[in-house]
């Protein structure tokens, strides 16, 4: 016998959980099928940065629209998600870097946005007095921030429970058949619903492939490190033009260091592991900005699997092959910030309402087979 629902979510990361909560609050009977455990992959490994700074132009309106949702998230979910409107700062460590940031700011302004702002050295050190003296200036977004991924997942999983979502862990989806309703096949039983959301993260392309839609996604093991708690020294989330870095300090004092370095992927076991030489490079970037961190102890490093698409943009799109199927995957290392908005966009697609931010750049059918893409020398 097949169990029915109004909406089935495939994948229990942030995208799936947040979508399930919204759908259930709308009065739908929602079933969430998670292959492993809730939040097991990118979502719990995440650095939790809520950043509109230095976004791809196509993602700027989404990132901006997500900010008020983060400010409301704790009230909305009835639990602290550790959100801090800390601001985000990308520093220039040399003249060439500063020139690039100025170009970037001009380009963003030309698109009609005002959130990015160039600050000189004095204003920068006023914002972050602990920064190393060689920094020359920065690109700043004052109303960006960060949240705590673990608390967010925990809050969402409670909210899902409270809204009546049936959350099933250890249910891997292995088949999907068109029809009304759609049929979702797992390793242990089949389910039906007129609406199915593909929120399978780095494996979302495998779900899309079940209905013949091809999306180039590379599962990537993004690395993070964290120190023991140290005295407060930094307010904003810091990055730099001179190397990969994202650095922030939690309320408890832990310094969370990442920036997009890619570790080993063990595809068979679905795990990532940090590469020590790259952890080392990442930490050296952090200590260049904040030399006193040399004396902090690194207590943990990890690498979480995230799906990176060929163009670095997510898929947020109705299926073009099967009606009732909606894709939201491949967030390419920056989906945390977007997650509360993505759930809205998905439900707007489901209800055929106009999207609250433009989603045409994220169509599932935008990729040509690599061989057919034109390459320019």
């Amino acid at each position: 016998m097949r169990e029915g629902a109004d909406l089935i979510v495939i994948g229990g990361g942030l995208m799936g959980l947040w979508t399930a909560v919204l759908a259930a609050r709308d009065g739908r009977r929602v079933r969430l099928l998670e292959a492993e455990t809730i939040g097991r992959h990118a979502s719990s490994a995440s650095a939790g940065g809520v950043r509109s700074l230095n976004r791809h132009p196509a993602e700027i309106p989404l990132a901006r629209a997500a900010l008020p949702l983060w400010r409301e998230a704790a009230r909305d979910l009835g639990a602290d998600v550790g959100y801090v409107a800390s601001g985000q700062i990308r520093v220039a460590e040399d003249e060439a870097g500063l020139a690039r940031l100025e170009d970037r700011a001009a380009a963003t302004r030309a698109l009609g946005y005002t959130h990015e702002e160039i600050v000189g050295a004095n204003a920068l050190f006023a914002l972050e007095p602990a920064l190393a003296p060689h920094c020359l200036g920065a690109l700043v977004v004052r109303d960006d921030g960060f949240a705590d991924p673990l608390r967010t997942i925990h809050a969402l999983s409670r909210a899902a429970h409270a809204a009546g979502v049936i959350v099933e862990e250890g249910r891997r989806v292995i088949g999907l058949a068109a029809g009304s309703p759609l049929i979702v096949v797992t390793e242990s039983g089949e389910f039906t619903a007129p609406l199915v959301v593909n929120a399978a993260g780095a494996w979302g392309n495998a779900i899309a492939a079940l209905v013949g839609e091809t999306v180039p996604v590379t599962p990537t093991a993004l690395q993070m490190s964290v120190t023991e708690p140290v005295a407060p020294f930094v307010a904003a989330v810091l990055g730099t033009e001179s190397g990969m870095l994202s650095l922030k300090q939690s309320a408890a004092g832990h310094v969370v260091i990442g920036g997009g370095f890619a570790g080993h992927v063990d595809a068979a076991h679905r795990i990532g592991r940090p590469r020590p030489t790259l952890v080392s490079e990442n930490l050296a970037n952090a200590a260049r900005l904040f030399p006193h961190l040399d004396a902090a102890r690194i207590v943990r490093t990890w690498a979480g699997l995230e799906g990176i698409t060929r163009d670095g943009l997510p898929v947020i799109s109705p299926s073009r092959k099967v009606s009732g199927l909606i894709h939201a995957f491949g967030f390419s290392a920056h989906g945390f910030a977007l997650s509360p908005l993505v759930a809205r966009l998905v439900m707007e697609i489901a209800d055929a309402r106009p999207p609250s931010a433009p989603i045409t750049p994220f169509g599932v059918d935008r990729f040509q087979p690599a061989s057919e893409e034109r390459r320019y020398a």
């Binding site: 673990l150 023991e228 020590p276 030489t277 050296a284």
Partner: protein, 455 residues
């Protein structure tokens, strides 16, 4: 990156005897141990103990065979002591930190032998994190390492052969024992006695030694049996120990309480490596799954000694040598012949005689389970009631196991608590995922890897 044929983690009886075999067979062998000198737990600081008449007189009998094992291994292998293995990649790149030179190294090994031994099972009870409260093993480490004798009478609580041994060693150092608090009732259980004939058959010497130790302790004065509701009380550090025995509450003033409930395999590295593990009911602990040769579920990663399941020092040494012979064959060399390790007959008796206490035996809801992140038994119970299904869900919901010890202290107890609360078997509940580095590293030390490694 540097390369060796065989990299052995742990210079206890297992690692030492293995190094002698692989080194003598012509394989380049590196032994890494975080202690200042080879010897492992039983032979900790062996060379220093040998040179110190006071320590030697009090501890000497445990160190029989140590000097020879260390000398032979030193002859055949290179040693990096005072060095911690902090990470190992799937293709056997070993990341290790030399604490003396303050340098981080990466060494690629054709084969890895994990001989990381055992750790004392942490026993949570109200007040167990107060200064002055330690494990019995920690007390012994101080004796062995520097002949450091506690500055006053000691209360010993719990059960197990190591407790008996340390009681005897403390006495040999002239340390007064204020009281021994035994968690067992006076007589061994029927299941334990059932295993006794097997144990005598398998290892009569060990059983006799144990009986002698136990008898000597029973003669040593103030002993309580079948104690309950153990608690350390004090402001800032322990001032007294309180418990119930024979229906009465007893309070004994003390500045030192040492507790013990057996030793368990140290699985930090084998978990980090992602090896398959099995649950050993009698020891209430996980151990890596190995075949008869000591080969784990991962190619060319081997495990020997107490780290593969508690069997004692003699067996660890024999296993180390036998596993080393298998490593030689796997790497295409011919080792010298040797005997297979003996069975574990006596162990079953010991495990049953000192059957591990339930994890919540002494713990109240507000007792700490994870001391790094201050997570209590009650915190864990609450998130389980909220739907957390396993140790890793509990970890993300409470931060249990996310502190500097990497879950070393709370991990095994967390598995047992989740099992207790959900009515599932510990083997199904599983274990915390272990993240590198196994020991915290200064950012400055980690950040120099790229520079030192390419040199």
């Amino acid at each position: 990156m540097k390369a060796v044929d065989v990299l052995i983690v742990g210079a206890g009886p297992a690692g030492l005897s293995a190094a002698a075999v692989t080194g003598a067979a012509g394989l380049s062998t590196l032994v890494i141990d975080e202690q200042a000198a080879p010897g492992g737990q039983i032979w900790r600081a062996a060379e220093a103990v040998g040179a110190d008449p006071v320590r030697h007189a009090a501890l000497g009998s445990s160190y029989r065979g140590a000097m020879a094992a260390i000398a032979i291994a030193r002859q055949h292998a290179r040693f990096a002591t005072e060095s911690e293995v902090v990470d190992v990649s799937p293709d056997r790149d070993v990341l290790w930190f030399d604490k003396t030179a303050r340098t981080l190294h990466q060494t690629r090994a054709r084969a890895i032998l994990v001989a990381t031994g055992a750790m004392e099972r942490p026993v949570p009870f109200p007040g167990w994190t107060l200064p002055g409260v330690t494990g019995v093993g920690a007390l012994q480490i101080a004796l062995k390492q520097g002949g450091m004798v506690p500055d006053g009478p000691v209360v010993l609580a719990g059960q197990g052969p190591l407790l008996l041994l340390v009681a005897q060693q403390l006495a040999a150092f002239g340390v007064p024992i204020a009281a021994t608090l035994d968690v067992a009732s006076a007589f061994p259980s029927r299941t334990a006695l059932g295993a006794l004939p097997g144990a005598i058959g398998a290892d009569p010497g060990l059983v006799a030694k144990g009986a002698a130790l136990a008898a000597r302790r029973f003669l040593s004065g103030s002993a309580y049996r079948d104690i309950r509701d153990l608690e350390a009380v004090g402001a800032g550090r322990i001032e007294a120990v309180r418990f119930r025995a024979a229906g009465e509450t007893v309070t004994i003033p003390t500045t030192r309480l040492a507790v013990h409930d057996g030793v368990i395999p140290n699985t930090q590295l084998t978990r980090l490596l992602g090896l398959a593990h099995r649950w050993i009911d009698g020891q209430a602990a996980f151990a890596p799954q190995v075949d008869a040769d000591g080969l784990s579920s991962r190619e060319n990663v081997w495990v020997a000694g107490d780290g593969a399941g508690i069997g004692g020092a003699e067996r660890a040494a024999a296993q180390g040598a036998a596993t080393a012979r298998a490593i030689c064959r796997a790497l295409g060399t011919i080792p010298a012949a040797g005997d297979a390790p003996r069975g574990t007959g006596a162990r079953t008796f010991v495990d049953r005689l000192y059957a591990p206490l339930p994890v919540s035996h002494f713990a109240a809801d507000d007792t700490l389970l994870c001391r790094c992140e201050s997570v209590t038994f009650g915190d864990v119970r609450r998130v389980i009631a909220d739907g957390a299904t396993g140790p890793n869900r509990v970890k993300t919901a409470t931060r249990c196991g996310m502190g500097p010890c990497q879950g070393r202290i709370c991990g095994a107890n967390l598995t047992r608590l989740v099992a207790e609360e959900t009515g599932r078997a510990p083997r199904d509940v599983g274990a915390l995922r272990i993240r590198p580095p196994l020991k915290p590293l200064l950012l400055a030390d980690y950040a120099t890897l790229a520079a030192t490694d390419s040199a």
